[in-house]
């Protein structure tokens, strides 16, 4: 045990040294050869801007983009979880009809490139379904309190339709992965648990609600949290349908200011701001679960996205 530690430590040191050399070389290249005028000083104003009229600091493009990404991720995550749960229940249920539907859903969505899904569903949803709800009009007519709440939790009144379409497409896409994660969780619960609960006279939905799902969720919580991180990152693809989230704002800003590297480094840091706490949380959860199960090698790997075959 100690021996392997040693070797891996020296290996770590070697790798670290190599990395340091690489970083040093790149820094050297950039300072000496790259003909790039740095303007880091201009970046903060795109995060926070001083409004001279009201005399207050207000979020500018990048921070607004970050908030939109956060809202997209939260609503998309919630919706994806609900959809994933419904589909996982259908997938593991008794009805052949529902099993087939859920299976087709997962099969379709996991075998298409995300961008294609986004375009397909966005133009279908945005053009065909959501305009009929006339949400934007209703939002504009709503009182100032409601409007304020809407723009805090959802989107500016003028772009609610677009935002909703984006949330739906994201949820549809991530829901397929969550379906498979939850299915694996449900199937990991031993048959004896079902039998003990049935023998006590519980109905199927009670068994699910009180016995099987709590155990299934506990089993896949780290995987699920990991999928949420993926969702935060994947939310950047809705920039192609002009949702003004972080990546979209970044590309707009780059086009208008030419501060390419500064903008994208800032955007990257802002994404990290969202995903890093999640990652820490996942690591915590995994450590806690490993302790609870005595570290008996729960194979999270097989539960990860894309690994589970149909």
């Amino acid at each position: 045990m100690i021996r392997t530690r040693r070797t891996s430590l020296s290996l770590d040191l070697a790798l670290l040294a190599l990395l340091a050399c690489l970083v040093g070389f790149i820094a050297y290249r950039i300072t000496v050869h790259l003909d790039y005028a740095w303007h880091w000083g201009e970046i903060p104003q795109y995060i926070l801007r001083h409004d001279d009229r009201t005399g207050r600091w207000v979020p500018n493009y990048l921070l607004r983009g970050l908030f939109t990404t956060l809202r997209l991720s939260l609503w998309g995550g919630l919706l994806a979880l609900a959809l994933g749960l419904a589909m996982a229940l259908a997938r593991t249920g008794r009805s052949l009809y529902w099993r087939l539907i859920a299976r087709t859903y997962v099969l379709l969505l996991r075998n298409l490139p995300p961008l294609v899904i986004i375009f397909l569903f966005y133009f279908f949803l945005a053009d065909q379904l959501i305009p009929h709800l006339a949400l934007d009009v209703r939002a504009r007519k709503a009182g100032p309190g409601v409007r304020w709440l809407l723009s805090l939790l959802v989107a500016e009144p003028g772009s609610i339709s677009a935002f909703l379409s984006a949330v739906c497409t994201l949820a549809l896409f991530e829901g397929a992965y969550i379906t498979e994660i939850l299915r694996a969780g449900i199937e990991s619960v031993e048959r004896g648990q079902w039998e003990a609960a049935h023998a006590l006279g519980l109905r199927r939905h009670q068994v699910l609600r009180h016995v099987v799902l709590p155990q299934a969720f506990r089993q896949v919580l780290p995987t699920l949290a990991g999928q949420f991180i993926s969702l935060v990152k994947d939310s950047s693809i809705v920039s192609v349908i002009s949702i003004q989230e972080l990546t979209y704002q970044g590309s707009q800003l780059m086009a208008s200011t030419y501060l390419t590297i500064e903008v994208w480094v800032t955007v990257a840091l802002m994404y990290m701001l969202l995903t890093f706490p999640c990652s820490l949380l996942v690591a915590r959860l995994e450590a806690r679960l490993a302790r609870r199960h005595g570290g008996d090698g729960h194979d999270w790997g097989c539960l990860c996205r894309g690994e589970e075959v149909l």
């Binding site: 003990a196 006590l200 006279g201 519980l202 109905r203 009670q206 009180h210």
Partner: protein, 250 residues
């Protein structure tokens, strides 16, 4: 608690047939009747269909043909009947099958609240009473993983008793236990028998069978080979197959 006019036979199983893909005839025209308050012990070699029979009795497994009547209620396709029978029949498994995410008290209380519709307080009260009966009142707040096998199985018995069943089924309740823990579980079962519970017990504990049971049934390949009072069954078995089986395990 007895229902009026149901007679003395609480379990009437007639001509049960159950096949598994293979095909395996796990139950082959199997019939047995259990009187109210009787303790029936079922013995037989591995794969003879003992578990299958118990699982059919509370509808965990569906028979291909034959009829099961429990305390006057037929176990048929009617989902209501099935649920009602499950409430009246408690089952204890070889592998305990406690709910690992719930503590001992919640394990015992869950079905009281969900199925019997009891309040949290009343369920708790009865659960504590039952836990005291199996000698585990001080473990109410523990989780199953923190208990020994014997303790887990006693909790499982309390959990089944919480539904106030008229019949208790035990499927090799002590087979997964370390030898020093078998006694504590058998003691609980013995006490239950003395209190007049109707019990169908699949076990390899011949001492328990001899001492506690009213009748012993030997089955093989899904059929009843021989049954009788324990002294007669163990001392003067009628069938050669039974004698061979007893020689093997005693």
């Amino acid at each position: 608690m007895n229902r009026e006019g149901q007679g003395d036979d609480i379990i009437i199983a007639s001509n049960l047939v159950k096949t598994f893909p293979g095909p395996v005839r796990a139950l082959d025209d199997f019939s047995v009747t259990v009187r109210r308050g009787e303790v029936l012990v079922i013995v037989g070699p591995s794969g003879s269909g003992k578990s299958t029979f118990l699982r059919c009795l509370n509808g965990l497994e569906e028979v291909d043909s034959g009829t099961i009547i429990i305390d006057g209620l037929p176990l048929d396709d009617n989902e209501k009947h099935r649920l009602e029978i499950r409430r009246e029949v408690g089952m204890v498994f070889q592998s305990f099958n406690l709910f690992p995410h719930l503590n001992v008290l919640e394990n015992v209380s869950l079905a009281q609240r969900l199925v019997r519709g009891k309040s949290r307080a009343r369920a708790r009260e009865f659960s504590m009473e039952l836990l005291a009966r199996v000698g585990l009142a001080d473990k109410a707040a523990s989780f199953p993983a923190e208990l020994s096998g014997g303790q887990q199985q006693r909790v499982a018995i309390a959990r089944a008793l919480a539904m106030m069943p008229r019949v208790m089924l035990f499927d090799e309740a002590t087979s997964a236990l370390d030898p020093e823990m078998i006694g504590e579980v058998l003691d609980v079962m013995r006490q239950l028998a003395e209190d007049g519970m109707t019990m169908v017990v699949v076990t390899h504990e011949m001492g328990f069978a001899l001492e506690v049971s009213d009748r012993v049934l030997f089955m093989e390949q899904g059929r009843v080979i021989e049954e009788g009072a324990p002294e007669q069954f163990f001392n003067t078995p009628a069938r050669a197959r039974t004698r061979a089986f007893l020689r093997q395990i005693l």
